[in-house]
């Protein structure tokens, strides 16, 4: 593909995603008069990803489809849906992709459990390491408890200083 052709295709793709000029995220005209329902709608829209945008919730996004979904969510709530029902309605049509909080299911088991598992493994290894380190025999050059400021030279610095004085700088 020539660069120009590529630009054309890219341009078309982009216009596909952004059909209308930039509008606002939540606008006053779509808000519900009932503050309770409205705040529930805000919470739900913050958990749903805008499918045509890069990593934004529909609450943050100004894409027209995001607006449609915000209005749809509000309609569902007005019709008496619970938060979970409203979210499920969107998931049934667009898939798990719209959930910014991934569902806990078989293929996300590792995603959700890995941090805790890792923490356990790492802490276990840490304890092992610290125990071993504690029981090491004293080693030359690193024995002395050094003064915090280390204004004086450490044992190995003294050794190196002696080397340098004898042989001259190595670099």
């Amino acid at each position: 593909m020539t660069p120009h052709r590529k630009c054309l295709v890219l341009g078309i793709l982009l216009s596909l995603l952004l059909p209308v000029a930039v509008a606002f995220a939540v606008t006053p005209d779509e808000m519900l008069s009932d503050p309770k329902l409205e705040s529930r709608a805000r919470v739900i829209s913050q958990e749903l990803r805008c499918v045509v945008c890069p990593n934004q919730s529909i609450d943050d996004s100004n894409a027209p489809l995001a607006k449609d979904l915000r209005v749809l969510i509000r309609d569902r709530l007005k019709a008496g849906d619970s938060n979970a029902q409203a979210i499920d309605f969107v998931v049934e049509r667009y898939g798990n992709f719209v959930l910014l909080k991934p569902p806990f299911q078989l293929n996300t088991l590792l995603l959700w459990l890995a941090p805790a598992l890792l923490a356990i493994i790492v802490l276990f290894q840490l304890m092992r390491f610290l125990r071993r380190q504690q029981s090491l025999p004293a080693s030359e050059g690193f024995d002395s408890v050094e003064a915090e400021s280390r204004d004086e030279l450490s044992a190995d610095e003294t050794k190196r200083l002696r080397e340098i004085l004898e042989k001259g700088p190595t670099s």
Binding site: G11, I12, L13, S15, L16, L17, P19, V20, V51, V52, P64, L65, D68, L69, L72, E92, R93, Y94, G95, F97
Partner: protein, 178 residues
């Protein structure tokens, strides 16, 4: 244990690098349709201005057919339009249309300007029917089989290239010669 600590990093890295290699061949914008192997959701749309047949989703069965989502504001739709016209002319498969999120009159004007390839074309100004179909943008084209189940969704323009590469083999497997 220390052996594992030594080779562990390079092994993990190999897996990660392999995953990246595979990932390069994926299209991050491609979203799988939730409707595969399911009948289209129920909707009933009035005909687009200037056409006569309404679009009722219950009619979308009985033979292999295409449902194309278009809008007058969509440049990709212009790009695929000649292909759609050819399919309609050669009567390869019946072609239905859904005019998504257009201002009043725009969808009809567009069809008058560029010709109408659809057997029936429904007007969906609010975009709700499109959302029922899980539409993310236009154009999109759904392949529906004889039993009235959706078999495939194509997001993006159906150019001649795409038609030959994707649609012809798929339709052949559904028993349609094209």
């Amino acid at each position: 244990m220390s052996r594992w600590a030594a080779v562990g990093p390079v092994m993990i890295f190999a897996v990660v690098a392999l995953a990246f290699g595979f990932a390069l061949r994926l299209d991050p914008h491609k979203l799988p349709s939730m409707l595969i192997d399911k009948p289209p959701p129920r909707f009933s749309l009035p005909p687009v201005e200037g056409t006569s047949a309404p679009l009722d989703s219950s009619k979308l069965q009985g033979q292999v057919m295409l449902l194309n989502i278009y809008a007058s504001w969509c440049p990709g739709c212009r790009l695929e339009h000649p292909t759609l016209m050819r399919i309609a002319r050669e009567k390869v498969v019946p072609l239905y249309g859904l005019n998504w999120k257009d201002k009043p009159g725009q969808g009809g004007r567009w069809l008058r300007q560029y010709q109408n390839p659809y057997i029936a074309v429904g007007d969906d100004p609010s975009g709700r029917a499109g959302i029922e179909m899980g539409v993310t943008g236009v154009p999109e084209t759904f392949v529906i089989d004889t039993a009235g189940r959706i078999r495939y969704r194509h997001a993006g323009p159906v150019t001649e290239e795409v038609w030959q590469e994707v649609f012809v083999p798929l339709l052949a497997s559904l028993g349609v010669k094209s």
